[in-house]
Amino acid sequence: MLRNAFFVSGLLCVLFLVSGCTVKAVGDPQRPITINAHITLDIKGLEKTALNIEDYVSGESQLETQSTPGE
């Protein structure tokens, strides 16, 4: 009887863990996931800006700003 009790309680624990994992895998609407991907991508824009400024200072090109995109 004791053995059966251990088995049932163990089974219940496993079921509880599995269901908990399943719930987390689906996603919890109370915990929205946010990824700031735009910050990583904008480094490329910054590199382009840096290159343009350095080329301008060295006389290799014209300065491009937000209002005067390059050709």
Binding site: A37, E47, T65, S67
Partner: protein
């Protein structure tokens, strides 16, 4: 959970990449008088700075500024003036792009660009802090 993250990332990527790069990237949005003065001063100083770099008296450090590598008043003064102008430009970019206190990110990006653009023989400081001669 991992699948959800991947899907969300791909969605974010698709939203960002559909926008023009100029609108999405950090850039010099406005050339203020202070920025223009700094750029003009740097243009005027460029040849002298390049000459001192070739001689090994000034090098590009890993913070986006120049460092005088020898005890030389002229080189140190030129480096100070150049760094002041660069700081004005970095701060302007930070302010115009809402980066505020993140000037260090801009400095690092400029430092990398300068390492890439450095001429052979010029002294550059790597991210590790080591000074090397550009090959």
């Amino acid at each position: 959970m991992k699948i959800g993250l991947v899907i969300l990332f791909i969605f974010s990527l698709s939203v960002v990449t559909t926008q023009p790069l100029e609108a999405a990237g950090y850039s010099l949005k406005e050339v203020t008088p202070a920025v223009q003065n700094a750029l003009d001063a740097r243009k005027k100083r460029f040849d002298r700075l390049a000459d001192l770099k070739v001689k090994g008296m000034i090098g590009e450090n890993n913070n986006g500024y120049v460092s005088a590598l020898e005890k030389n008043n002229a080189a140190e003064q030129l480096a100070d003036e150049e760094n002041q102008n660069r700081r004005v430009i970095y701060k302007a970019i930070a302010q115009q792009n809402g980066l505020g206190k993140s000037v260090d990110i801009i400095e690092k990006v400029f430092a990398q660009v300068r390492r890439d653009k450095a001429q052979s023989g010029e002294m550059i400081q790597l991210e590790t802090g080591d000074w090397v001669q550009k090959q």
